[in-house]
Each structure stands twice: as C-alpha cells, then as structure tokens.
C-alpha cells in the first residue's frame, strides 16, 4: 500500500458510576463523537463546562465520508483551536471545474478575494478530522468520552433527562441537565422521542471510493456529466491527504449495491477513468443513497438535536458536516448562558429557529443540485442536457449548471436576536450575517486577523478610523466588560502609532471596506461570530439594549 491510515482503537473504560451503581447528574451529555458532537463538546469545555460524550463505537469514521470542509466550519474550529492541524494536513482548494463529456464547460472560484485567514475549503478524510477533535477535547481535561456506550432510552424529567446506557458491562443510568443529540442521520434518540423526520428520498445510488495513487490532477473539485469513462452518469473527483483520492460515481437506481461494492466491479470503473497504466489501490468503498429531510424543531425540551440527527441533505454542495458544525457553534454559547442563569430558557428556542432557517436553505440548495444531477423525469433530463450543451459557449447557461452549490454560511436575516438597522449600510455585514475576516495588527500579537479577536463572548468593535476614541465610548465599554455576560471590545483604527492595548489596526483598509465602516461606526458581534447589531454612531443605551436582545431578554 502507498499509504494506510491506522484506525485508533479507543479503550473502553467502565465509568465509576456504573461500577458503583450510583446515578450521577451531569450538566451536559453529548451523544455521538462525530464531527458535530465533538465540536459541541470541545466548545463547552473551552467555556469551562464538563461534558460526558457517549459513543457506541470505539474508533473514528471509517472511510473519508464528509471530505470537504468549508471556510465557516473551519472558522468555528479555529475559534476552538483545532483548525490549524486540519488545514496543515488537508488539501486546500477553491476552484471547481465542471466537464460535460470530455470538455470543460464551466469553472468557479469559491474565494476570489484576498485577505482571509481561513481558506475557502479543505479536503480531509473524516477520520483525521475526528482524531484531531477527540485529541483536543481530551486535552481540556473536561471531556469524558465513553466509548462502547449505546443510549438505550431517554426520559425527560422535571429539570433533567434520565439516560439509560448500555456498555460491555451492562446497563446503567445517568442524569443530564441537557442532552445534545449528535447521533447522526439514523438518530436513535430522534426515534425514541417519536419525532417526524420527513422530506424527499432520491432514487439514485452513488459509489464512493477512496483510492490511493500518485496522480497529477490539481487540487480542485472536478465534476463530470456524462464523461467518456462513465457514460450517461456523473463522476466527482477530490484530492485528499496522503495521496488518497476520493471518487464518486453515479450508478442510477437499478443496481445491486452489494454487487457494486465488490473490487471486481469497482476496479474496471476506476481503470476506465484513470487509464490502464495508473497504479492505484482501493482503501475504502461504499454505496450510498441520499435523502433531503429535517426535524420540524431542533429542540425537544432538554434535548437538542444538532447535525445529521436534525437535518439530512444530499452530498452535493458539502452541506452536511458544514451545516452541523454551525449548529454546535450556534447552540453552545446559548446553552452556557442559560446554564449560568444569565439568559432565559427561551434563548434555546432561537437555536432551533436560526438553525431551522439554515437547514431550509441547505435543503433547498441540495435538493436543486440533486434534481439537476439526478433528473426525475425525461423532460427534466432534456432541459439538463440542453443547459450542458449550451454551457461551453453561452455564458447564461453556465449559471444554470448545478453540480452542487457549495456550502456557504447562513445569514440569520429573520432572527429575533438581531437588532434591526436604523442607519444605512452597504455590503454583506447585515445583522445576522457571519462576520467576515480582515487583516489587523494588535499591540500584543502583531500581524493577525479580525476573526481571531471575535467570538467566545460578545465583542463590540468601535471603528475610529483616523480619529481618537471619545472618552464616553471607552467608559461605557468598560462598564459592559464588568457585566456578567462575557463581553470585550476593540477599537479599530488606522493609526498604528498611537494604537492602544485593545486596538486593531486596519492595516490595509479591508475592515472599513468589508464592514462599510466610517469613524463612529459600532458593530456588536455574538459569541458565534455573527453580527447582532450596528450603528453609525455610538449610543451606550442602544448597545446595552442590543446585547440584551441578543441573549433573548
């Protein structure tokens, strides 16, 4: 083998409460140690909350699975301190090419502008990603991951959830103030609660193969409609770490999935694509079907659903893990404020409101891509083929070609946590939008990034430009910093020479440009790095009101 990942086997350890037969109460139990569950656990631990994670397995993801991780998910992991390893190990990319037959019809760039810390996308086998998250969660000393622990039942009680867990030593019970169900598309917790998970099932199958080979394809997403090596179907190619390539072949509905997984069926398909002389080895093969569906509400009392347990999308557009991670990002700060008694319980309802809105957007995009890739009627196929045949020469048709609209973060336009604009602003940084990055310099750390200064608590940004900061601004901000809700502030300035300790120097004017900032402009940014409010002039009472509104008061 050119390369082989050796799967860790995490030791099962009997918990003390099972050994002693006592029912212990925990603040938070996360079910599922996948990317979403581990993100939630790590975020809670970073906020000082001890977490128990229950997982029925004892290793990481088998095969590359999710593969593509988008900028916003990486920004969440960067806030938690884990993204660097992922980016260093992964393959950074931003260009996608679409082919029809053997000619290229279309090309896109997912991050055409410069000056962002985090790339548009990386490709990385899911097993590495999970390994890094598990590793970092353990280092916090606050995350107790219990392997070989299957949830048998959950029961909502007054003020807690009683969870029955089965391990190799039998069954025991534990109590949790809150349960975060990250137990995947087949979520058993969802089934235990009898919640509807409805939507669309697509009649198509895809073969996924992780192939180890030395190849000279570039680090780009290549998608073929009707390629010469796989007629009448589509194929997708992604470069991953360690010379592993991910190839997805569309198979159609009328095939036998067990048969298609056999090497004697897979290898000829790969040879047709890669050429008879290319040496490769198969690392992992799977056949999948897909569905687009979601829960009506991501909250059921003290049980909160995040990731695939709450919403399932087709894989085109990389909107699965990339929308699950922002679920955790959205949930954890709210849960912490509610646990600390600083925000009302109803703040958790906004988790569902905001993330259901995101799920709707992801489902719409993923359904449309699927309808284009897997046309459901003859006429739909005719239109699809007409678009493709026009696309090489006629630009309008290129904008109709849909090989997957790749994951972008959701702006919570209708969230009741937003303070609506009173002043006119240009650009994308509307209340509810995920904050965008800009290069900044600080007195302590020198050259850095705006995103490094945002998140975890609330952050206010006061844009001074080349003017001084009025004393009343500094006084009011200092007052808010003494409050119980985590809050810090920064001056954004053009004046490097007399920048104060908390100042961010807008080194090349990107902040002013991307935030449409003029001297006196104020932004309030939430702990999940989404914009909560903004004004053209500082007003302490308005800032205070916006902060209260953003925590559901």
């Amino acid at each position: 083998m050119l390369s082989a990942y050796s799967y860790p086997k995490f030791p099962y350890v009997q918990s003390e409460e099972q050994r002693t037969g006592t029912v212990k109460r925990h603040p938070v139990v996360v079910v599922g140690a996948g990317p979403v569950g581990m993100t939630a656990a790590l975020d809670l631990a970073r906020k000082g909350v001890p977490v128990v994670v229950l997982d029925e397995d004892d290793t990481v993801s088998i095969g590359s699975r999710a593969v593509c991780y988008a900028k916003r998910a990486l920004e969440v992991w960067d806030r938690l301190g884990t993204a660097r390893r992922m980016i260093d190990k992964g393959v950074v990319w931003k260009v996608g090419k679409v082919f029809h037959g053997d000619s290229q019809v279309y090309q896109f760039d997912l991050l055409p502008e410069p000056d962002h810390k985090i790339p548009a996308f990386i490709n990385l086998q899911q097993y590495y990603l999970e390994e890094y998250l598990i590793d970092d969660a353990r280092k916090t000393g606050l995350v107790d991951i219990r392997w070989k622990s299957r949830v048998l039942s959950v029961k909502q009680q007054d003020g807690s959830v009683l969870v029955q867990v089965e391990t190799p030593d039998g069954v025991y019970a534990l109590e949790a103030d809150w349960v975060i169900a990250c137990d995947g598309a087949k979520s058993s917790i969802r089934k235990m609660l009898g919640l509807d998970f409805v939507g669309e099932v697509f009649q198509d199958r895809f073969l996924i193969a992780d192939v180890v080979m030395k190849a000279d394809f570039p680090a780009e997403r290549w998608f073929w409609f009707d390629p010469p090596f796989h007629r009448k179907q589509s194929t997708l190619l992604h470069m991953q770490a360690d010379n592993v390539w991910r190839i997805d072949f569309q198979l159609g509905w009328n095939v036998d999935p067990e048969e298609e997984k056999k090497p004697e069926k897979v290898i000829p398909r790969l040879k047709a694509m890669l050429g008879e002389d290319t040496e490769f080895e198969l690392e992992w093969v799977s056949v999948y079907t897909f569905q687009c569906r979601r829960l009506e509400n991501f909250r059921a009392g003290r049980i909160l659903f995040a990731g695939d347990s709450a919403h399932q999308v087709s894989p085109f557009g990389a909107r699965g893990a990339n929308s699950g991670v922002p679920d955790a990002d959205n949930l954890v700060w709210k849960l912490k404020l509610v646990m600390d008694g600083l925000a009302p319980d109803s703040l958790l309802d906004t988790y569902s409101d905001e993330r259901v809105a995101a799920a709707k957007e992801n489902l719409l995009n993923s359904t449309r891509s699927t309808d284009f890739i897997t046309p459901k009627s003859e006429m739909s196929r005719t239109f699809r083929d007409a678009v493709l045949s026009l696309a090489a020469e006629h630009p309008f048709a290129r904008s109709l070609v849909n090989s997957g609209r790749l994951s972008t973060p959701t702006t919570y336009v209708d969230s009741r946590l937003n303070t609506p604009d009173e002043d006119a602003f240009a650009g994308r940084m509307v209340p509810g939008a995920p904050a965008t990055d800009a290069p900044v310099e600080t007195a302590d750390h020198g050259a850095g990034w705006l995103m490094d200064t945002l998140g975890n608590g609330f952050v206010a940004l006061y844009y001074a430009g080349s003017e001084p900061v009025p004393a009343e601004v500094a006084d009011a901000m200092a007052g808010l910093e003494k409050g119980k809700v985590p809050f810090t502030w920064h001056v954004v300035t053009d004046r490097r020479r007399d920048a104060g300790a908390n100042a961010l120097v807008d080194v090349n004017g990107r902040f002013a440009e991307r935030y449409d900032a003029k001297p006196g402009t104020v932004y309030l940014v939430r702990p999940d790095q989404h914009v909560a409010a903004r004004w053209r002039a500082f007003d302490a009472s308005k800032l205070n009101a916006a902060l209260n509104r953003a925590i559901g008061l």
Binding site: D371, E393, P395
Partner: protein
C-alpha cells in the same frame, strides 16, 4: 438591429430553473412537449425581434 444576449440576465438562475422544472411536474412526454411549444411561442412574441429570434433558433439547432 438587436443582438441575442447570452450573458446571464437572471437574478437567481436556480430559482428560474426550479420553476421551469416544476412547470413540467406530473406531465406526460407529449404534454411536456406541448407546454414547451407554447412557452417558445409566448416568449418569441414577447421578444418580438426577428433577428434575435433567428439567432436563437440557429444556436438551438446546433449540435442536435
């Protein structure tokens, strides 16, 4: 003389495409062909410019 525009003019191409496919939902092949024919006639009348229409008809026939 007007020119056929082949740059994108749709504010949301994905919205249009979805609406187009929905227009054909649950129709037989014959019914769909009739819908398409009516659609072409309606749009041709809306465009109303013979040079543009001839250009579009020429491109549409290419490679078929």
């Amino acid at each position: 003389m007007s020119q056929l525009v082949t740059e994108n003019r749709l504010a949301s191409p994905d919205d249009f495409y979805e609406a187009l496919i929905d227009t054909h939902r649950d129709l037989s092949a014959e019914q769909s062909a009739m819908v398409n024919a009516k659609l072409v006639l309606l749009l041709a009348n809306h465009i109303g410019d013979m040079d543009v229409l001839k250009d579009a008809m020429r491109i549409a026939r290419q490679g078929v």
